[in-house]
């Protein structure tokens, strides 16, 4: 996993084991097995949370809280789904709560700009790309928490409507309605800034 490259932790004797095995061990109190799961899934989950929240600092906090919540709930985890699906759902719901708690428009001026590979892209292209991403982030901030979450999961994560409904805990019809409204808002915003 990409995020492991910077880890300075010593090689773990459980690092090669599959998630199912590690999850059973962690549920029985093996914190070393849980640590392997954390390192294995952290990168993808922070990616997900960053897409949902538009802010990597908040995303890391959300993922950290989600893992701690997972550790506490593991004894009741019965393996109805994979660990990956389960923690994805916990992170998504944690992010939904963060979005709901945000003050409207609070993030308009604080949305971080993406790190561009400046040595490979011409300066005017960088400026243009940053402006476009900045505009899109502003437009995203105009969405409700549910609209934003459903749209990100559908458009950026490529999840099925059925999967999003399961994750967010609403009907597929409600997910479709939220994604539609998000797309309307965003296409309108794009039309305005063009």
């Amino acid at each position: 996993m990409a995020g492991d490259r910077t880890s300075t932790a010593p090689p773990d004797t459980q690092a090669g084991l599959d998630d199912a095995l590690l999850t059973v061990r962690a549920a029985e109190g093996d914190e070393e097995a849980f640590a392997v799961l954390v390192r294995r899934h952290a990168g993808a989950l922070v990616g997900l949370a960053t897409r949902l929240l538009g802010n990597q600092v908040e995303a890391e906090d959300a993922v950290q809280d989600a893992f701690i919540s997972a550790w506490r709930r593991l004894p009741e985890f019965r393996g109805q789904s994979s660990f990956g699906t389960w923690i994805y759902r916990i992170v998504t719901n944690r992010c939904l709560n963060v979005l709901r708690a945000r003050k409207p428009q609070a993030a308009l001026d604080t949305a971080p700009e993406p790190a561009a590979p400046e040595h490979t892209v011409a300066p005017d292209r960088i400026t243009e790309a940053r402006a476009a991403v900045g505009d899109m982030r502003q437009a995203l901030d105009g969405l409700s928490a549910e609209q934003r979450a459903c749209w990100v999961l559908r458009e950026l994560d490529g999840q099925s409507y059925e999967s999003i409904a399961d994750t967010v805990g609403i009907s597929q019809q409600a997910v479709r309605a939220r994604v539609f409204r998000a797309r309307r808002h965003l296409t309108n915003a794009m039309g305005a800034w063009r």
Partner: protein, 207 residues
């Protein structure tokens, strides 16, 4: 934009929806495109094609927001894992204490620690990995010995699971006796999965 100049023939079911000049709802046009069920009308209607064009333009412009399943640039999984594990270690679930040696020796080991040792012992059998390891202790019979319930993943290539289980049992009993000093009355083994382990005759040892 797709805003029509004609008044809608019927109120849209969703106040955010839009009736295109051709009489189709925007939500239906987008849904049909997304579900790849566009009909002849949508393929030729300029209003529908414009509406779909806007959705495609949106997709193009949000590509920069998506990192796929990769972590964002500069993210360090190790640092986050350390922060998580700092909290986890304050909330360990060590399980119950198990007596070591004779009942009156006053020596105990926590179940999760003993389980880790016994799982490692099971993995010394090539191709085997242990999942659940529950250790019970009942002194009702006066023997003061523990019972172990072990779940294992066995190699798909195994031709004699009974022999494999016996080997696992032997490793667990040796580890319990020699490494822990934990008296074992019985080791129950459940094969929870058969997995394809390449070169399983040479693997399976704790690394």
């Amino acid at each position: 934009m797709t805003t029509g100049t004609h008044p809608p023939a019927a109120p849209p079911p969703d106040s955010d929806d839009e009736l295109l000049p051709c009489g189709r709802l925007l939500s239906q046009v987008w849904a049909a495109w997304e579900d790849a069920v566009t009909d002849d009308h949508q393929r030729t209607c300029s209003h529908c094609r414009q509406a779909i064009g806007e959705l495609e333009a949106l997709r193009t412009s949000v590509r920069d927001l998506s990192h796929g399943t990769e972590a964002p640039d500069g993210f360090a999984a190790g640092a986050l894992a350390h922060r998580v594990m700092d909290v986890v270690r304050l909330e360990l679930r060590p399980g119950k204490p198990l007596p070591l040696g004779a009942p009156d020796d006053g020596m105990w080991i926590m179940e999760s620690v003993a389980a880790r040792t016994l799982r490692a012992a099971a993995s010394r059998v090539p191709g085997v990995q242990a999942s659940s390891c529950r250790i019970g202790y009942d002194d009702a019979d006066g023997t003061g010995r523990a019972t172990v319930s072990l779940g294992i993943q066995a190699p798909l290539s195994s031709t004699d699971l009974a022999e494999l289980a016996e080997n696992v049992r032997g490793q667990v009993e040796v580890a319990a006796d020699q490494h822990l000093g934990l008296g074992i009355a019985r080791v129950d083994i459940r094969v929870t999965d058969l997995v394809d382990v390449p070169g399983s005759t040479e693997e399976g040892h704790e690394r």
